[in-house]
């Protein structure tokens, strides 16, 4: 399992109720269900991926987070997870608000557009960056609203949401993000993981 999922799994205590928004093929869900006795649900837009989840015995609803989170009552999950999908929504702010309404807490991970390789690519080549976490061309990327770790931290603070944990990932390296190292982490992490609450 990828490092990102290990970090997310470590943030969630045993026996909780969790919703994985954009759960893809259910890898994280399966891990949480098997190892932490998590009562886990998934929401996924791709029919193929929903089928993969069903084949793993996972409870998944085919749907679109921008419309379908509405049906869940307030605070009906202990945690809501959104892994590397925020940037693909038409209205990321609406989705964040919905995550924090449906979940007592939300775990959001974002591919960091402030990562040095991305900055260097744009600076030297002058074309839209393509990396391991952002593999698509500008004309076929599902990503509409890229942001940096710094952007996300600023956004969360501006909305007065609480940040419980901010974690930077760079390949195998996992480290904490703080106010003092934000600039450095924004340069050297390719992924940010945030545990937030409204």
């Amino acid at each position: 399992m990828k490092n990102e999922f290990k970090v997310i799994a470590d943030l969630i205590e045993k026996d909780k109720k969790v919703l994985d928004v954009g759960c893809a093929d259910g890898t994280l869900m399966k891990f949480l269900k098997d190892n932490k006795n998590i009562n886990i649900r998934g929401l996924e837009i791709s029919k193929d991926k929903v089928q993969k989840c069903i084949a793993k015995g996972l409870t998944v609803i085919e749907g679109n987070a921008e419309k379908d989170l509405m049906q869940f009552p307030d605070k009906s999950f202990d945690y809501v997870v959104l892994s590397q999908t925020l940037q693909a929504f038409l209205n990321p702010e609406l989705v964040i608000n919905e995550l924090l309404r449906v979940g007592k807490k939300a775990i959001v991970t974002i591919p960091n557009f402030g990562y040095w390789k991305i900055r260097l690519h744009l600076l030297t080549k002058g074309t839209m960056p393509i990396t391991k976490t952002l593999p698509d061309e500008w004309y076929n990327t599902p990503n509409l609203h890229m942001c940096t770790i710094k952007d996300f931290v600023h956004f969360v603070k501006s909305r007065n949401f609480k940040i419980f944990k901010s974690i930077a990932l760079n390949n195998e390296n996992i480290s904490s993000i703080s106010d003092t190292n934000l600039g450095i982490k924004n340069l050297f992490a390719d992924l940010g993981i945030f545990l937030i609450e409204k």
């Binding site: 029919k47 084949a55 793993k56 015995g57 609803i61 049906q71 009552p73």
Partner: protein, 372 residues
Amino acid sequence: MNKELNLKTLIVKKPLKLDCGKTINDFPIAYETYGTLNEEKDNAILVFHALTGDQFVTGLNPITNKDGWWSYAVGPDKAIDTNKYFVICSNVIGGCLGSFGPSHKDPNTQKVFGTNFPVITINDMVNAQNNLLDHFGIEKLFSIVGGSMGGMQVLQFISNFPDKAKTVIPIACTSNHSAQNIAFNELGRQAIAADTNWNGGDYNSKDTIPNKGLAVARMAAHITYLSKKGLQEKFGRKLQEREDLKFGFDADFQIESYLRYQGSVFVDRFDANSYLYITRAMDYFDLAKQFNGNLSDAFKETKAKFFIISFTSDWLYPTQENKDIVIALNSIGADVGFVEIESDKGHDSFLLDVPDFLSALKNFLEKSYTDN
């Protein structure tokens, strides 16, 4: 018919109070089973049939000599694997294949009921079928499954008996019949009533059958089970065994011939009055109404695991109506999964060879079964 074919029949002694106010007792429920009930009695699946279905889910149907109506989904190693599960299906009351229905004789008058048969509802149907559980000594079914009207029965069953099923699979259905659905059913009923052979429902005494009216009803309904794209691809404007148009009203087009055939084979196996009663039961179905307009309340007592399936090209019971059930379940934190299957075969998709559907059904059941 019962004696000739030796249909398995349970005579229900317990009186059943119908929604219309009448009470029936000592009434028959004709059923069929597939597979073997295990010792723990925890591998039973109750399958509910749709409007024109019957208890012969799979294998050879002794009436039609054709495959059972759900042969793609039910059988050894199939999605509903009869090597593993014990499948029970019964003819609904109001039907015409052995269960108590309008073609039966009224014990008081010794005349065929016809339209003197009490109007029945989906609720009555599942209450009647619940007797099968006692008959087999099953406390809790592993699953209840059904498409279309079968799906409506699934929803009603789990609402009435919240502890009697572990998993619940309503397919291509709705929690209440839409105006469009009622309209199509009314068209069918009026076609039957317009046939002079119908004779106000009393055709048995005249030894006639309103087969023209029933055939038209079936033809109209059959169109609603398919999609425009499916029809176009299968038939287009192809002509029926002729080089050119004949400038008359014979079946020039293949689609005409196909529908006429569907109508003609239907009348051989289905009773016109049953068609009236069962379509009426569908039209009366409104699960939320039974709970003061709150559909979620229909499910609040159950801990069952739901899996709801719809089809992209189903315009009779469209995805949104299936999703409304998902929404009602999510709003009370029920365990519910949902998938919309891509298919251009319309509402009939659930009866046909649609691999994504069959694999989803198989996987869901298998995983839920091993989670025991």
